[in-house]
Amino acid sequence: MSSSTEAQTDLARVAEGLRTDVRRKVAALRAQLDDELRQLRWTADERAKETGARLDAADEQLARVADAYADLRKQTDGELRGARQSIARLTGEIHLIEARLRLEHGVLPIDLDGVPAELEPLVTQVRAAEEIRATILDEEMRAGYAERVDAYADLECSVAETRTRALRASRALASERAGGRAFRKAAGAYRRERERLRAQTEELRATQSGCEVALAALADDSRRQQDYRAHHGAAAVDELAAHLRERIDVAVATHALFPAWFTITELGHRPPAGRAAQWRDVATQVVLYRITHEVTHGVLALGPPPEGGHRAERYATALAGLRRLEG
């Protein structure tokens, strides 16, 4: 009996010893794991810091490269522009030298202002059409006159309405019992309408002459527009422009010498390779303007600027065409 009790006590002691040992080992393992985790976190932090620093350095480097690229591009653009201007100047100078050489060899500039006998009727027709077109009102003036006529018509309607109301009040005054409420009301209404009618009639009288002028101007304009349509001016202009274009084409094809008023503009001596079609159109437009308006100035391609009207519009259009060639 006592031996079995001792055996049990020993077993319990051994078990207790084993438990304590296992606990110690677990604690030791946990401490080791914590250490390793701490180490790992520290390593990860260090790596992240290192990577961030590298990224910042790469950003700075990239910014420096971008700045250098922008500077280089600006410099290249400037140099290209300068080169283009130099080429244009050199081309002009070469053309000038060529022109002077040809002049010295007796080659005369082509006469773009002259009108051949076979084109004379066409030019006369174009000039006549242009004269009619010059007297046609522009949109703004036409709208102004129409507005004046409309305002007068509105005023006339208002006067008619006021007269109707005054007549109604007068009729009430004639039919209602004198001194009654309706009679007094009608008297008040008549007094108001009479004042209004007086003011409107005054205004009508003041604007009548202006309206008559506007009506006459619109009628004249309408007649001129009909004349212009009947004249077939637009078709004649197209036909003349086709002749002039052909003459310019021949001049370019035969390396003819263009006159000074032509070459000192953006048109130059030759059409540019990239914009030959545009050059041709603008050249035709300028020559057409000169022939239509009989400009013979030796230096100014379009002559002195006109004061206003349709010719000024055409002048501005031709000038804008020349400006576009420059850009």
């Binding site: 007269r163 005054a166 007549l167 009040a169 007068s170 009729r171 005054l173 004639a174 039919s175 004198a178 001194g179 008297a187 008040g188 008549y190 007094r191 108001r192 009479r194 004042e195």
Partner: protein, 120 residues
């Protein structure tokens, strides 16, 4: 010019206006004479309005006189109350009379403001 005379004139002008309207109504088919008759109708209406302006002016004058009389009554009542000839509650009546006078005077002003301007 008396009230009866003004009344007669008003009726006379009104009859004249009515007759011109009748003529105008018959002229609907004749536009060339319509404008002329229309002007006549407006002339007749203006004549009637002139008479009505006179009537209005006369009525305004009468209202003004009545307003002054009422103002005088108010002053008399106030004096009598002040010297003790009338009891204090007479002042209530005096105040009512004064209100009536002011109302009449204001009515005269508004009538005078509208009448001559419209009749000008």
């Amino acid at each position: 010019m008396g009230a009866t005379e003004l009344r007669d004139q008003t009726l006379k002008r009104q009859r004249e206006l009515a007759s011109r309207h009748e003529v105008l109504d018959r002229l609907d088919a004749e536009p060339e004479r319509y404008a002329d008759q229309f002007a006549r109708v407006l002339d007749a209406t203006n004549d009637l309005i002139v008479v009505l302006d006179r009537v209005d002016a006369r009525a305004a004058r009468r209202r003004l006189v009545v307003a002054f009389v009422l103002l005088g009554v108010t002053v008399v009542v106030a004096v009598l109350v002040a010297i003790g000839a009338l009891a204090a509650y007479w002042l209530i009546g005096g105040l009512l009379v004064l209100t009536a006078a002011v109302t009449l005077w204001l009515g005269t002003r508004s009538g005078a403001g509208a009448g001559p301007e419209a009749g000008a």
